[in-house]
Amino acid sequence: MRISDYIEQSFSNLLKKKLRTFLTTFGVVIGIGALVSMFSFGKGVQKNVTDNFKKMGLFNYIAVYPASGRSRNKHAEFDPDDRQTQIQNEQFPDSAKSPILDVNFLQEVREIKGVELAFPEIRFPALIKFREKEQFSLVQVMSAEVCKSELMKLRAGKAYESDDENSLIINDSLLRRTDIKEFEGLVGEQIEISTLALDSELLNPMNIMSIMQGEKLPFSQESYNFTIVGVAERMGMGGPMPLRSDVYIPPGPSEDMKKISLTSIRDFFQPAEKLKGYSAITIRVSSIKYIDLIKEQMENRGLRTFALIDQLKEIKTAFIFMDMFLAAVAMIAITVATLGIINTMVMSILERYREIGIMKAVGASDKDVKKIFFFESGMIGFLGGIFGLALGWVVSILINQVANYFLAKQGVPYVDYFSFPWWLCLGAVVFSVLVSLAAGVYPALRAARVDPVVALRHD
């Protein structure tokens, strides 16, 4: 038999039982539709995350932290799996030799080949007052150089010109929390930042009793005035980002401010004036290829590092698990559809029992009979795959629209949650055909086994 004849035969046979073919195919359509939308959702999320990370250049960053104290070493010993830390600790048992993350170190880092930008991470909590509203928030110290770079996306105004002016950039996120919708008019407005700092004078034994009773906490509050020069766009993603605070101020005025460091408990209990160096430094490299080299240099000096690119592998593993979970859900629908195909094909054999006998009587081989039924189930799979793909696509568009409609109300920018790479479209149809062919194995074998003598006597 010719291939074209198999296709024509199977198509005309399926058309003879339109309703049954429709219902069976519809089962496959739902199964494949579910699989396609689940997979495209998984891929869409994956694409969004990695694309966003790439777009923001997040894989180009290394965060450098000061050497850990003894407490960290002890902690590492409890974790037998953390071999990397153990080796590191064995190699650098004396963290005292490692450099302090200060201005000089920063300058040194900036001269390393591949380093595009290096800036300290100084963040502290503060009470922000403006337009008669108060908001407890995070203030980040950021040099004018960084603010003027493409890292800072401004919705209004501009970045401060120098590191010494009393200006600040306010983030969209804070405006949203304080329910301020228009941001154009904000530029030029005054803003007050009140900081809290641990007051070492208040920590003397005379005051201990009242501190313990909570009457007089060992904090002092100071207020500073700034002028808003720009409104920054909110960053969509989390992670070790350089810019994720509500307010950015230049380093000049920050030096005189009394503040609590947020990144280390040890720093917290140190009087502000005794703090040595920054709690972290962020380095941006011009290319990902420098990451390992610079990380190694930093670690060789006893510093701790963190680069998001190292997490990429883990993120990818997490995505594989997510894909597997989504696929498992869709597979339930596929399994049901497969049973539907088997049922339909077996029914078809029983109905066409005599016809199979005739086929054999006029010269069809067992192989011919097998192929005829294979093509029929394959045809169900093919149609189911095509229409299932279409269904999955339509469903994903609907869900995308609905999700974006509701998320837009919460200020989340429009995101395509579904992705349809070509291999998914092709794979869905191929998978559908393969599953249907697998479902057709038993019916086809059964049809081929039909005894023509019995079948021709059959009524």
């Binding site: 010719r2 009587a361 010269g363 081989s365």
Partner: protein, 232 residues
Amino acid sequence: MDSAGFVETEDLTKVYSSGKIHIVALKDVNLSLEEGKFLGVTGPSGSGKSTLMNLLGGLDTPSSGSIRVQGKFISELNKEDLALYRRYQVGMIFQTFNIISSYTALENVGFPLLFAGVPKKERNRQAGEMLTKVGLYPRKDHRPAELSGGEQQRVAIARALVNQPKILLADEPTGNLDTSTSGQIVQTLSELNKKQGLTIIMISHEQSLLAEFADDVICLRDGEVVDKEEIR
């Protein structure tokens, strides 16, 4: 070719087994048919006529003994070769016509060509020619339900002959037809036998038809040949 052994059987035996029960459907049947002959087979129900037909038609395999057609032992063929034998060497017609109800007359006649890998256009041409031979071309687009019993059997004959086999096996082809139509059908078969030299083996209960058209008649009883009559 030696025409004496065109269709030969030697100690042909068929036993159907179901658990411990064994039914002997055919027992040591020895036949020898020359090419171009018309053999009639008669006998009461359950005498093994259809079993003989199925064995000769390659639809079933013997329990013991052999079948030789045109010098080839078809009782030793594997399934694939047996399918080829059915496709090209023999044509079969049945009491119940066994044509496919959802196909038109033309599609039914062209059906065996499908398995021979003949393209659709050529299938339709050859099927049309066969329908013309049996006088049914004008009804080529009709489905079996729209045809009379006689016409359906003609479609079956056309289908059996579309691959130009040398042998036609007819299993009570007139069993479902009235007397006059039966006469016409057997007349058609006889013409094919006479004009085209088609070897025909036909089962029939109707002694008169066999007496009129068959060259030889054998009678089966309980799976054995009990009477062999050479009419001509």
